[in-house]
């Protein structure tokens, strides 16, 4: 099998987003606003508390956490759900299935193309903000070359986990034909369980420990925690192995689910 056709999909979607660059710029500002609101909120929370650190996070740590989570969210963001729903609902999937390509890989590379374009646009401003905040913070979270390398590896695995989880969700939507409700559900579940709203440290210990075993934590939380040096050396290697385990398990599950879907497909319309 050659990957050449899939790079064509990658390139095509990179170009599609180039055609919609205004949308990407708006997306950037929406994100910036979200971060700003979260920061104001955390600043208010810390100001009203007598302690300077909550669950081991100072205000500066917390702000950096929010920034890194947003950045990692952008790096690992894959959205097969929209493409799959679109394809399932109005039968557009027929147009992909008449081509000699693997549909799962096609959607993956299309998503990757969109992801790449967005991150090329966003990465520089994001990095500038993060380095700036690093310099400002006196406590100084030290980021070494090694931790950046681990972060990159972890982000790649996070991206795969995110893609597979959403791909499986999309197929559930296909079985139940309940698109909107399930879409909402996955968005909230993934965001909460992945530590997008508050760090998993803030959950009661039992729940936090369970969440740290679920795949959602391995999308953004673990990469960010490793970069912030919040995970000890032993725990870190264990976390990376668990992450790899999830990549494999979910990848196989996604494939199995897809095989089932395609056999039972009804192609709507036309």
């Amino acid at each position: 099998m050659t990957l050449r056709p899939y790079f064509a999909f990658f390139k095509a979607y990179f170009l599609v987003y180039l055609a919609y660059r205004v949308q990407v710029i708006l997306w950037f500002f929406t994100n910036a606003l979200e971060i700003a609101f979260a920061m104001l909120l955390w600043a208010a929370i810390y100001a009203s508390s007598s302690a300077t650190s909550l669950y081991g996070f100072t205000l500066v740590d917390m702000l950096l956490y929010q920034l890194l989570m947003t950045l990692t969210y952008s790096l690992t963001d894959m959205n097969p759900i929209d493409a799959l729903l679109d394809d399932f609902n109005d039968g557009k999937i027929a147009m992909s299935l008449i081509k000699p390509v693997n549909y799962e890989l096609q959607i993956f590379f299309q998503n990757l193309g969109a992801n790449a374009f967005r991150n090329v646009v966003l990465l520089l401003p994001m990095l500038a903000i993060i380095i700036g905040s690093q310099l400002l913070s006196k406590a100084g979270v030290v980021i070494s070359l090694m931790s950046i390398l681990i972060f990159i590896v972890s982000v790649i695995m996070g991206l795969l986990i995110n893609y597979f989880v959403k791909f499986i969700f999309s197929n559930l939507i296909f079985y139940t034909e309940a698109s909107f409700g399930l879409w909402q559900l996955q968005a909230i579940v993934i965001s909460l369980l992945a530590g997008g709203i508050v760090p998993l440290h803030f959950f009661p210990e039992v729940i936090g420990n369970i969440l740290r075993l679920l795949p959602f934590a391995y999308i953004q939380y673990i990469p960010v925690m490793s970069l912030m040096g919040r995970i000890g050396a032993n725990e870190l290697s264990l976390a990376l192995w668990i992450q790899l385990g999830w990549v494999i398990v979910l990848g196989l599950a996604a494939n199995l689910v897809w095989r089932h879907s395609i056999k039972n497909m009804k192609v709507n319309g036309g």
């Binding site: 050449r4 599609v16 027929a94 147009m95 000699p100 497909m265 036309g270």
Partner: protein, 334 residues
């Protein structure tokens, strides 16, 4: 080339009740009904044949095409296209086929047309030489260069269809499935499409299966037709034969200078033709007759003898009427 034997496809439908009550009931206890989209169809198509596959909406045409292309798995029966079972080996099958669904596009909506072709070139791994040669050929027949660098979403329907058909032929497929390729096109665009399809068939011996509601497409392109009704094939054979059997009724329309009054005399004069009917509205007269029993010259002579004829025209029954009468009769004896 294509062998289909005893193929059926059932869909399970969940009936939803009316109103809120029905919706809630349906949520807990949906009523299952099995819908036979296609039942027990068999046919064979040879290389280079152009076959018209016609039938009313919902007759099962698109379902058949989707099974032949490997998108849908048949509930029963066997399909082989070029030795490949499409739903088992979808990708291998996809390499040898081209498909145009008139209601959809295989082009990238937001990208310039030329980008879609370069993606397709990679998908089918078409060599540079073949690619350039074929693009030149498409440009010759379909005039793609007029809009090759415009984003697909800005193309007119006619342009988009021309591009779509070129896209489906880029890898020189052995079988071309056209599902309503001329839907929504104006007469000129339709003619361009037909010309392109004909040229492809002549040049590359491409086997073509065409579904359409436009009988001109069929008459122009296909020598063989299959008529599908409620999931069953009710006719499979020569187009000319069906025209001979069902197309024996001709229509003569006349405009007279004075109102038509000799109704009874007319019927007695032509009583040997059981199929003859005459309708008149003042000076307008419309006669339907069986061409094997009555000659046009007899009719016109009779009319001219009794009236001054200002204008007249003769028409064959078109295939559309034939198909309509077959749908109604449900039984074909040819």
């Amino acid at each position: 080339m294509i062998q289909v034997s005893h193929v059926s496809k059932d869909f399970i439908k969940y009936e939803k009740g009316k109103g809120l009550k029905g919706l809630i009931q349906g949520f807990f206890n949906a009523k299952k009904t099995i819908y036979h989209a296609v039942s027990d169809i068999s046919f064979e198509i040879q290389k280079g044949e152009m076959v018209g596959y016609i039938g009313a909406n919902g007759a099962g045409k698109s379902t058949t095409i989707k099974m032949l292309t490997g998108i849908l798995t048949p509930t029963g029966g066997e399909i082989k296209v070029n030795g490949i079972v499409p739903h088992q080996d979808r990708k291998a099958n996809a390499k040898t086929i081209g498909v145009v669904f008139g209601q959809r596009t295989q082009l990238w909506w937001d990208l310039p047309l030329v980008e879609s072709f370069s993606v397709l070139k990679e998908i089918y791994q078409v060599s540079d030489d073949d690619f350039n040669e074929r693009m030149a050929f498409f440009n010759d027949v379909l005039h793609l260069n007029e809009f090759i660098s415009s984003p697909v979403r800005t193309l007119s329907l006619g342009q988009r269809m021309r591009a779509d058909i070129a896209a489906s032929l880029l890898h020189n497929p052995q079988v071309l499935y056209l599902d309503e390729p001329t839907i929504g096109l104006d007469v000129q665009a339709k003619q361009a499409m037909r010309l392109a399809i004909k040229k492809m068939n002549e040049t590359f011996k491409t086997t073509v299966i065409l579904t359409t509601h436009d009988m001109d497409d069929i008459e122009d392109l296909c020598s063989r037709i299959m008529i599908l009704d409620h999931g069953k094939i009710i006719y499979d054979g020569n187009l000319q034969k069906i025209k001979d059997t069902y197309g024996i009724i001709k229509t003569l329309t006349l405009t007279l200078s004075t109102p038509f009054e000799h109704h009874a005399e007319f019927i007695t004069s032509f009583s040997s033709d059981h199929d003859i009917t005459i309708e008149s509205n003042l000076t307008q007269v419309c006669i339907k007759f069986n061409k094997h029993h009555t000659k046009v010259s007899q009719l016109t002579a009779w009319m001219m003898h009794h009236y001054e004829v200002l204008d007249m025209s003769i028409a064959d029954t078109d295939i559309e009427d034939i198909v309509a009468s077959i749908y109604e009769a449900k039984v074909v004896n040819v």
